[in-house]
């Protein structure tokens, strides 16, 4: 019985930690996948303002700079 109770308590203690870890992992994967996609995309320059600025200088076009929170 004690073992059973301990197991239940452990489950309660560990569950929130796992849940927080899951959220962290989801966010990490979302950011890394987002970066991977945009790195393959010729249309956007990801996290490199100077590269985008030089491109704008070369082409004479204006820049659209986007700031986003972690997905």
């Amino acid at each position: 019985m004690k073992l059973y109770l301990a197991a239940i308590l452990m489950a309660f203690v560990v569950a929130p930690a796992i849940s927080a870890q899951d959220v962290q992992k989801k966010r990490r994967d979302a950011v890394l996948n987002d970066k991977k996609q945009l790195d393959l995309d010729d249309y956007w320059v990801y996290d490199d303002f100077e590269k985008g600025r030089k491109e704008a200088e070369k082409t004479g076009k204006p820049m659209l700079v986007v700031f986003r929170c972690l997905p």
Binding site: Q24, R27, R28, V31, L32, K35, D47, F49, R53, K54, A56, E57, G60, K61, P62, M63, L64, V65, V66, F67, R68, C69, L70
Partner: protein, 338 residues
């Protein structure tokens, strides 16, 4: 690392855009929020397209149009990067770590507002109004904008600053404080940098003519900017209320409680549980209590007004008496300011 000498925007946002020249001149900003639940009520794809078209027009006219762009550039700041704020120093690297710890390596924008407020708070100085009520929404001066357009006025609140200036529904706001306006975010930027009291100009297109109007701002205008929805108000709640989140009490409920309609009544909808956010809990405040007096004042305050009062009129360490209504009884507690 974010260059704060260049990129300044509403740091409570989770999405913001800049339209720029390659020489780093800012043509405009896009991205506005006024609640947690409805994050997109001030934005639309049509509005973004209109703002982008406006930016292209400014780009074509550049640099002859520099006069209407000067005010749109970043304001002078002593903090050149987030790492320059004393409370953030050394906590984050200059680059994101695109590995396992990418989430932890990312500084949240709202942390910069909190860090700048802390500079004043730790020196026991009042937080400046511009920092306390950042990026005022157009409705702060009585303007409601059509979010599907660049800057067309949808409605004007009677007896507001905009009404006093003579702005009318249907007007297109071409410039505010001599800055070209492309979006609601641009209006907010102009208002953010407007004086705490004084006059700013507004140029509107009405029919086939352009009118230059004057908007008079009195000493109370900025305090009407609702900050209760902002993530950064979480830390103001710690400082002033000891971790309490309030919701308004309706006039009907006030009558039931025996509180006059023009008097203070804010119901506690959340009590902070841990650390510095649990000061009110430890002082005895409970969920559902109704705040009816703060430092003997019982003016009809909103959460914004309460937080503004506490963080400008009191210093860390002050004990502020607060009175709550609970089951018909009045309960008095002292909340230590942080």
């Amino acid at each position: 690392m974010l260059d704060l000498t260049l990129f300044q925007f509403d740091f409570d946002l989770s999405f913001a855009m800049f339209f720029m020249n390659a020489d780093k001149t800012i043509y405009g900003r896009y991205g506005t929020r006024s609640s947690i639940e409805d994050a997109e009520s001030h934005m639309s794809l049509d509005g973004l397209v209109a703002a982008l078209e406006g930016a292209l027009t400014l780009h074509k006219g550049y640099p002859d149009n520099q006069g209407v762009l000067t005010g749109k550039q970043a304001a002078p700041t002593k903090y050149k990067t987030p790492n320059d704020f004393p409370s953030l120093r050394g906590k984050f690297g200059y680059e994101l770590d695109y590995g396992e710890r990418v989430v932890q390596s990312c500084l949240h924008c709202h942390q910069m507002i909190e860090a700048e407020r802390l500079v004043y708070r730790n020196e026991k100085k009042p937080i400046p109004e511009k920092l306390l009520y950042p990026h005022p929404l157009p409705q702060t001066i009585g303007l409601r904008m059509d979010v599907d357009t660049r800057a067309t006025v949808k409605a004007v609140l009677p007896n507001s600053e905009a009404d006093g200036a003579g702005i009318e529904p249907g007007d297109v706001l071409v410039a505010l404080d001599d800055q070209a306006i492309l979006s609601v975010a641009d209006i907010q930027w102009a208002l953010h940098n407007a004086p705490n009291s004084g006059v700013i100009s507004a140029t509107v297109e009405r029919g086939n003519s352009y009118l230059k109007l004057e908007i008079k701002l009195d000493t109370l205008w900025r305090k009407k900017n609702d900050i209760s929805w902002r993530v950064t108000s979480w830390d103001l709640r710690r400082m002033g209320t000891g971790g309490l989140v309030f919701e308004p009490v309706t006039t009907i409920q006030k009558t039931q409680f025996g509180i006059p309609s023009d008097k203070l009544a804010l119901r506690v909808k959340y009590v902070g549980l841990y650390g510095a956010h649990s000061v009110a809990k430890r002082a005895g405040v409970k969920l559902g209590d109704v705040l009816v007096a703060c430092n003997e004042k019982d003016d009809h305050w909103t959460t914004t007004q309460l937080l503004g009062y506490l963080t400008t009129k009191h210093k860390p360490g002050d004990l502020v008496p607060m009175e709550f209504l609970r089951n018909g009884q009045r309960i008095r507690v002292q909340i230590r300011q942080q």
